[in-house]
């Protein structure tokens, strides 16, 4: 028979083990493989006015097999260049990735004119899944 005092420390340990087991062994599911970013209307005008507020993050992280398609939507009134594509107003550019690497792209929506896309390998080990889930949870919490 488990004593009440033993149960008090056993339950958190079991909960932790259960959480780690779930995070490590349950396949990760995402709603969509696309990560979508918008270039808002007026971005070019703001840049011309000297406003250096960043519209998009300097670095975008993608994960193969989960979120490995980047979609940029140009809501601005002028064409915007993202990487290899010149997007007309109202146009979007959807770029899939199949190799884990760090990619540097020209991006006119950035004050620096550069965007880095870090494509990470698919988390296919228990530890990698735990790490991925923990980081996603932490980043959502920060927002």
């Amino acid at each position: 028979m488990i004593r009440r005092s033993r149960l008090l420390w056993l339950l958190p340990v079991l909960a932790l083990l259960g959480t780690l087991g779930w995070a490590g062994f349950t396949p990760i599911r995402v709603e969509s493989r696309e990560r979508v970013f918008d270039i808002p209307q007026g971005t070019y005008a703001r840049r011309r006015a000297g406003d250096l507020v960043e519209i998009l993050p300097d670095t975008i992280r993608l994960t193969l097999g989960l979120e490995d398609v980047l979609k940029i939507v140009n809501h601005d009134d002028v064409p915007q260049t993202f990487g290899p594509a010149l997007m007309m107003p109202g146009q979007s550019f959807t770029l899939p990735f199949e190799r884990a690497a760090s990619y540097q792209f020209i991006c006119t929506a950035h004050a620096s004119g550069q965007l880095t896309i870090d494509v990470e390998p698919e988390p296919d080990t228990p530890w990698a899944r735990i790490h991925w889930r923990a980081r996603e949870w932490w980043e959502k919490r920060k927002k």
Binding site: M1, G18, P27, L86, S92, T94
Partner: protein, 200 residues
Amino acid sequence: MNVKLARILLPLLLGAVVAAAEPPRISPPDDLFKAGTLSPVMAAPEITLAGSDGKPFSIARFRGKVVLLAFGFSNCGEVCPITLATLAAARRKLGADAADVQVAYVTVDPERDTAAQMKKYLASFDATFVGGVGTIAQIQAAEKSYGITVSRKVNPDGSYSLGHSSSIYLIDRAGGLRAVMPYGHPVDDFVHDIKILLRG
């Protein structure tokens, strides 16, 4: 093992097994391009130049074919030979379908690239490739319409080398700019996307 401990652990293990048995993730659709795609599809910007084959060079001229449009120059020692070799290999892999695929290569070096030089250079990869040459103003207009950047580096001996955007533009039979393949993709990726465009 303690029976009560087992009673606690068993449901946890069972839950993990059930969760692990669920479908893992969303699969990409079969018609997803390897290249980046533009939506909505708009007409590929028109380019009016002289062709390396002696005929006028324009996007409209190749209407009805899938066009692979790229920018480069015949003195390029790094990027262009790889791009052109890849496109030539893709055409070979397509077999009979290659008749409906046109590679169009616009120079970014109007000072040195003549029609004759482009013809000779492109023929070393595939005799069907057509180059576009023109004046500095014409070439700059073509570059601007596709967002092409070109950087010029002058060497100590007075010669110069060029750095340039190296993506390949995929234009459908109707002249719509459908996709942009970044530099470095393998032959099979081109074959895959060209087949999608050939199907219409």
